[in-house]
Subunit: 417 residues, 2 copies
């Protein structure tokens, strides 16, 4: 199953003004879409992070991909690692994206869903969590391309409860995550308490300040929200700080798990995390761990150490979502509903035929059709490319919109509180 | 790719009188051969451990296999785990064997080698180690079925050097493992020193007394053979003993790795091994770790913790050997030449068409043809079955032949020295 062509298409997708520790989401999020074409004309596709740097790396990797069998993925990962020795994380983003597209291609060629190629599904639907954000009023996009805003402003506990209720009404989510690190911790604690009161104790809640707190604050919040949070995600941004937070909470008899996609983002972070008990839940992300098989391996690793597993997300479309669904289906040890930004994206930006992937009762059905279970809509892809070409930025940058729309003197700072 | 039939055939294969900590190999080793037949008549096959207990478990598992897609392996493993909740290790032997046969079946059906199904090969040939044994004179089998003995008696250092030289002449092995735990440690140290002298410092040597030593003896041998052994395998039989041995050697500045297939034999042993630094090399065995995908996951796990990886073996034929070769090809982090008993088996017992898998320069070429790369020879399989039916024993038992041929009062004892 020889690959004879590889296409990389940068696209921009409308993104609402969502606040986080790094600032404010710009009106467009960027993605790169990879297509692999086999000698018999079958196309496999995948989504990767956006931006010119990754795009250029993907273009460079074409030399390693063209002429290779779509099955020959472990060696491809090695070759790409060697090509980008100075940037091993970049190499994983490149080989991971190509792996997903290759698995989609192989699955389509032999008539088998990607979950089966990964070892077979253990579940037929995959639970996702609502992903709440502090948010300015207004939808994504700008100028003539400004989008409708379904969810409105959310800058206080009442606004966050409204957002949660709207998400639950629209998608049936049964777990709720709040992206924090935006306001002083007491305001965010108040939002979590308001969600807890409004939604009831049966709804698992999480907060993720993206390392916005000191260890001291992390411990304080962990104590304050004991019994309310399902897990506390990346309260602080160092392995030592996470370990110290864990130790202090455990000393209180508070076993609240600490989750991360910041201090453990690659296999070589795990050994220290295990030795120091810094992390009790890993948020996997095939986009930077090296692809879907890497996530099934991470699942086994987490299970081996009694570490929980969930999935991390960035702004993304249906191809990334389907890849997450297939790998979740093939990973027995997925212990939590996964994150997804998907509801924040606009249906009109979707690039797969048939439109958006449905989320019903907070879950997505694992496709039973070949590959990832979707084909690229080339017209929609071309529109995404046009948006990209019109878009003034070439890498994600949350600081500039934050300065333009919220505070001209705003500075990025981890452990701000 | 629905499985419509599953056949389990117990066979016996001639085995020479090899000594080990558990006694003496009987004249025949037992194996179970699994065949899965798809609705379109394609057959996938695998070898499993022998004996009636596993045979009966495999027979029982047919109810979970028949009617299932050969891709549906993760769920099958779960179902089998549930069927054998009282015997989780047995469950892994059953699901692992069926997984290998299913991958052979799938590979044959779609024209792809098993290594590709596991993620793709990173090597085209797989290195194996010579597996030396203290040995009585004579070949395997008995009565009219007594086989020729290529290697003769080996009960002292000179005999062991002769055996090593014969193995190297026949197969080109570049690494040498001595199965110890048979004689007092000083005799086995002398054998290792004789091998070191005869073969030169360029030949990696290992000794495996199968937990035959106390911690004190393990430390003593580790000190004595520092700089001579590539690794020391299972000197003692507890996690604490291994950890203490490691600690004592490290305190000397002696970083000789300790290897195991006794204290870490399942994923749930790894956490403690990591925390206590008890093990620096894991000898993987798909027959009891749960199949080939489990070994690729174990490879990632070992790599993550800086633990080396090799492969363990029991008396086996070509199907098991080919399964080892495919998974080794697809496991980047295979850091040592693997064990194999294969040279001890008799060519006339091989059950794959075309006869024995060649070992050249100590390596086996990774097949590029579909599945495992071999078809069962049904006549040879039937002869193996006839030997099994004539054979008086139904489980492996090294004690009885030890008492009959060596010492009527012999008792099994771990940490004998």
């Amino acid at each position: 199953m020889k690959i004879v062509e590889m296409r990389v298409t940068p696209i921009a997708i409308a993104d609402p003004p969502l606040l986080n520790v790094a600032g404010l989401h710009a009106p467009y999020a960027l993605r790169n879409v990879i297509e692999l074409v086999s000698e018999d004309g079958i196309v496999g596709a995948a989504e990767a992070h956006g931006g010119e740097r990754l795009r250029s790396a993907l273009e460079e990797a074409k030399a390693d991909v063209i002429g290779r069998s779509a099955w020959d993925l472990a060696r491809l990962a090695e070759v790409i690692e060697q090509r980008f020795t100075a940037a091993p994380r970049e190499a994983l983003r490149v080989s991971g994206a190509i792996e997903v597209a290759a698995l989609d291609l192989v699955g389509k060629a032999i008539g088998v869903p990607v979950a089966e190629l990964l070892g077979g599904r253990v579940r037929d639907e995959v639970p996702f969590s609502a992903y709440l954000f502090y948010k300015l009023a207004g939808g994504g996009g700008e100028g003539d391309d400004q989008r409708e805003d379904r969810y409105g402003e959310a800058l206080d506990p009442a606004g966050m409860v409204r957002q949660a209720q709207a998400f639950i009404a629209d998608y049936g989510f049964e777990s709720i995550k709040l992206k924090g690190g935006v306001f002083p911790p007491d305001q965010e604690i108040a939002a979590i308490r308001a969600l807890h009161e409004a939604l009831g104790p049966g709804t698992p809640l999480r907060i993720d300040p993206n390392g916005g707190w000191t260890t001291e604050t992390s411990i304080r919040v962990g104590r304050d929200l004991n019994g309310i949070l399902e897990y506390l995600e990346d309260p602080t941004n160092t392995m030592a700080g996470m370990s110290a937070t864990r130790g202090a909470l455990l000393a209180d008899g508070n076993a609240m798990p600490l989750a991360t996609n910041m201090v453990v983002t690659a296999f070589d972070h795990i050994h220290e995390a295990v030795l120091t008990d810094a992390v009790q839940v890993i948020l996997a992300d095939h986009h930077y761990w090296g692809g879907l098989r890497a996530i099934t391996q991470l699942g086994r690793l987490a299970q081996t150490h009694g570490i929980g597993l969930s999935m991390h997300s960035n702004s993304h479309l249906g191809l990334s979502l389907l890849a997450m669904v297939h790998v979740a289906a093939a990973t027995p040890h997925l212990t939590y509903a996964s994150d997804t930004h998907y509801p924040w994206q606009d249906a009109s930006d979707e690039i797969i035929e048939g439109g958006r992937v449905p989320i019903v009762d907070g879950k997505i059905a694992v496709p039973t059709c070949p590959g990832l279970g979707a084909n690229l809509d080339q017209d929609a892809l071309a529109r995404g490319r046009e948006r990209y070409d019109r878009c003034p930025y070439r890498e994600r940058d949350d600081r500039t919109p934050m300065r333009e729309r919220v505070d001209p003197n705003w500075e990025f700072k981890l452990a701000r509180w």
